[in-house]
């Protein structure tokens, strides 16, 4: 949670500096973000590859456990497709791309900004932050009424780290490995899904 607030603070500081025109124009004209994105993706890869939890998790793979991230993806796409039917501001493709962040707001917002521009990037940022917040707040409720996989699926990619403590508290630590597995798989898939969709 502390990490999320720091990230948000950087966004807000950038926002304010931009709004009040406090930075020299040449800084705005050069687009460094693509290079920073390249570096981030390389580093995210290192993080995934070296994650001891994910190494352990790969050993426990079986057909059943793969159904969990698969359900998250299917369910998310069904959900946003229904939303696409009742509004006409965003296209189905755009909605699916935003949904494909699965709560990993820093990565998804940056990737989507790079491909589709800032408006959709901001939507991805806010939407995926709220996915993490909803999971943190409603995990007890989800676990109680919709089974033990519900908090994991609500957490999406965050179920491997930021929302893992609260999830295991309510569904039991025997589901921790499934939670981490689902989060790892979704985290790896996010850039691929977004690149394919947009």
């Amino acid at each position: 949670m502390k990490g999320s607030l720091i990230i948000l603070a950087f966004f807000v500081v950038g926002l304010l500096l931009g709004m009040y025109d406090l930075l020299p124009d040449q800084l705005l004209e050069n687009d460094y973000s693509l290079y920073a994105l390249y570096m981030l993706m390389f580093l995210v890869g290192i993080g995934i590859g070296s994650n001891k939890k994910s190494l352990e998790v790969i050993k426990s793979v079986n057909l059943k456990i793969i159904l969990v991230p698969l359900s998250v993806i299917t369910g998310t796409y069904i959900g946003v497709s229904i939303f696409a039917l009742i509004q006409d501001n965003l296209s189905l493709i755009e909605l699916i791309a935003v949904g494909s962040g699965f709560g990993y707001y820093s990565l998804s917002s940056v990737l989507i900004t790079e491909i589709s521009g800032e408006t959709l990037g901001v939507i991805a940022l806010l939407s995926n932050i709220s996915r993490e917040i909803i999971t943190l707040l409603f995990t007890p409720l989800f676990a109680r009424y919709f089974g033990k996989l519900a908090p994991i699926s609500s957490g999406g990619a965050t179920s491997m780290d930021t929302t893992l403590p609260v999830i295991t508290k309510y569904i039991g630590s025997d589901y921790a490995i499934i939670s981490v597995f689902s989060g790892v798989v979704l985290t790896i898939l996010i850039p691929f899904l977004i690149a394919i969709i947009l």
């Binding site: 705005l28 290192i46 796409y77 800032e118």
Partner: protein, 92 residues
Amino acid sequence: MITVLILMTAGIILGWLLHKKERFLKVSSELTNWAIYLLLFLLGLSVGTNEKILNNFGQIGYQAILITIFAVSGSILVSWLTYIIFFRKNER
């Protein structure tokens, strides 16, 4: 975009090869944080200079939350089914 995917895959392989080098991992996780801070700062900056987004910020935020509500509801319902069919019976 293909560059992004290649870089991430290269990172995964490198991370896997070096997963015992604690110092390297510490530095790379610290750098990851700063890359995220920089990118979110830059996103903030470009949003801050974009009148179209600023004028519609309320509506954009409202839409973003609605997307999440639908996405989370869909995921929960599908995984509820998965739970009932494949997971629950093993616990009894």
